[in-house]
């Protein structure tokens, strides 16, 4: 079943990420982004008949979808929870389109809303829930940091990727953040020196190569192509989608320096009938600098192992030859839990609509969005377009 041109994103809502969520609740933030997305689309809550939610990573109540539907006043014909970590948001978009194509529902609200508590998350949740963690936890991993650090170390060993090349990703994205008033870290540009002189958190990754967890929420509304034409906003069409999951813990990854984006992007490009060279901008999940470099390689923007020199010699800023993460990426915009993944969707939509003000990419027609969950384990790639090309 192809989803090419079946559905469009017609509404976007997003809160500015915050490190001080005092008084905020997951449901409350979900409500605010829902209101924004409805206004953006010119829709009412009664127009929504499908709901996709991300798991609440801190509270994880049972039957969270039903609670969100009740709170917002949605009478839903389709409710589900999507649990693919950083790939959750992108995964919601194609699931919404598939449900619409199947005739199960016609308009789907997709919400990510996260109140972040890093200690609770790592001590109570990530490491201790799975019985399979018994082979890893006694050695003192450092959450996902140690996983990505080990990926970066081996990539440097195999391909000669340098710390400066890794740092360049954070530097370029910071320039983008400096043109986005909603970025958590958009006050001043960074230099490669700044990145490399920040503390080594997990060798070889420095503090400024690692996302800053925070709190926030984002939502999008997906509807069928015909209904999209009647919405208040300019529709952004889903042209291709692909998903691939290979492991949970990086210890058991089939190949630690190769991302399943290889398969997910391959499938997305095939569905869209497009190639990497057709893309006007990229919105690549960037939990760490190394993630962007490997994603560029395995999605086909450069040869395997060439990601380091590629980012060194290309301009990833909004005014560059290959604009990437024009909102600043999660490295500079912030990582409000699973809403961090949604920010790659919302930014691509805003760019394709031409709504990005100072950081607008000229004549942006086609965007690649990637969601990356776990430790380079869960990948979802979307191709979005201003028209159905």
């Amino acid at each position: 079943m192809s989803l090419r041109g079946v559905a469009a994103i017609v509404g976007v809502g997003e809160l500015k990420p915050t490190t001080n969520p005092e008084g905020m609740t997951t449901l409350g933030m979900a409500a605010r982004v829902t209101s924004q997305a409805l206004n953006d689309a010119g829709l009412k809550i009664t127009d929504i008949d499908g709901l996709l939610v991300a798991p609440d990573t801190i509270e994880s109540p049972l039957m969270w979808g039903g609670l969100v539907a009740e709170y917002l006043g949605i009478r839903a014909n389709y409710v589900d929870i999507v649990d693919l970590g950083g790939a959750t948001a992108a995964a919601m978009v194609w699931r919404a389109a598939a449900a619409i194509k199947a005739g199960i529902c016609h308009t789907v609200l997709c919400i990510t809303s996260d109140l972040w508590d890093v200690d609770r998350f790592y001590n109570n949740f990530v490491h201790r829930l799975s019985t399979e963690a018994q082979y890893e936890l006694p050695y003192g991993p450092m959450g996902v940091n140690s996983g990505y650090a080990m990926i970066a170390r081996r990539h440097m060993h195999l391909y000669g990727t340098t710390p400066e090349q890794l740092a360049k990703v954070a530097v370029d994205q910071r320039i983008n953040a400096c043109h986005n008033p909603d970025a958590l870290y958009g006050d001043k540009p960074l230099t490669i020196e700044d990145v490399l002189s920040s503390p080594l958190v997990a060798d070889p990754l420095h503090l400024l190569e690692i996302v800053r967890p925070c709190s926030g929420a984002s939502a999008v509304i997906v509807t069928g192509r015909e209904r999209a034409a009647d919405c208040a906003s300019k529709p952004v069409y889903l042209l291709g989608a692909g998903e691939h999951v290979t492991h949970s813990s990086i210890i058991y990854s089939p190949d630690i320096t190769t991302s399943p984006i290889k398969q997910s992007a391959g499938r997305a490009f095939a569905m869209a009938g497009l190639t990497p060279g057709d893309m006007d901008l990229l919105s690549l999940y960037d939990c760490y600098t190394i993630t962007v470099i490997i994603s560029l390689e395995d999605a086909g923007f450069c040869a395997k192992g060439e990601g380091g020199p590629f980012v060194e010699h290309n301009d990833l800023t909004f005014r560059g030859n290959l604009p990437c993460n024009t909102h600043g990426g999660q490295l500079s915009w912030g990582q409000p839990g699973l809403a961090g993944g949604m920010s790659h969707v919302t930014e691509a939509v805003r760019q394709l609509r031409g709504n990005c003000g100072d950081r607008q990419v000229r004549n942006a027609r086609l965007a690649l969005v990637n969601g990356n969950g776990g430790v380079m384990s869960d990948e979802v790639t979307l191709i979005l377009g201003r028209e159905v090309y």
């Binding site: 890893e136 936890l137 003192g140 450092m142 140690s146 650090a149 170390r153 060993h157 997990a202 058991y252």
Partner: protein, 132 residues
């Protein structure tokens, strides 16, 4: 220090029991003959359900690693900085471990290592690796 051990299951129990005797044993799938780590109820390569346990050499090399300086887990505060690594056994299996009995600066990808079996303050042993 006390390491954060998790409860074992009937499937994982042989693995941990052998470690208490300073031996590393892993399950081999009876139908496709591949070694499987970690132990589970089904072979992830062929869906086979029966395994035989086999002793490993304890020899391997560092596949990749990181040096942890600011542990998330309280238990490791006194151990930092320490090496969290993936070791590839001679038999081809990769596993998480710590590289011990050397400075973190001595570790590199490809360094040959051998198993050491070490108890934490609770008396329970696990497998670590040191330069060979």
């Amino acid at each position: 220090m006390r390491r954060p051990f998790l409860p074992t299951t009937p499937v994982s129990e042989p693995y941990w029991s052998y470690l208490q005797r300073d031996e590393l044993w892993l399950p081999r799938c009876k139908s496709c003959s591949r070694l499987v780590f970690y132990p589970r109820e089904i072979c992830p390569y062929c869906s086979g359900l029966e395994f035989t346990w086999e002793q490993m050499s304890g020899q391997g090399q560092v596949y990749t690693y990181t040096v942890i300086r600011r542990p998330f887990l309280q238990e490791f505060a006194t151990m930092a900085p320490y090496v969290f690594a993936i070791v590839e056994l001679q038999e081809g299996i990769r596993m998480a471990t710590n590289i011990v009995n050397c400075s973190p600066d001595d570790v590199y990808i490809g360094i040959r290592v051998q198993a050491v079996f070490e108890a934490d303050d609770s008396g329970r042993k696990l497998i670590l690796f040191e330069p060979a």
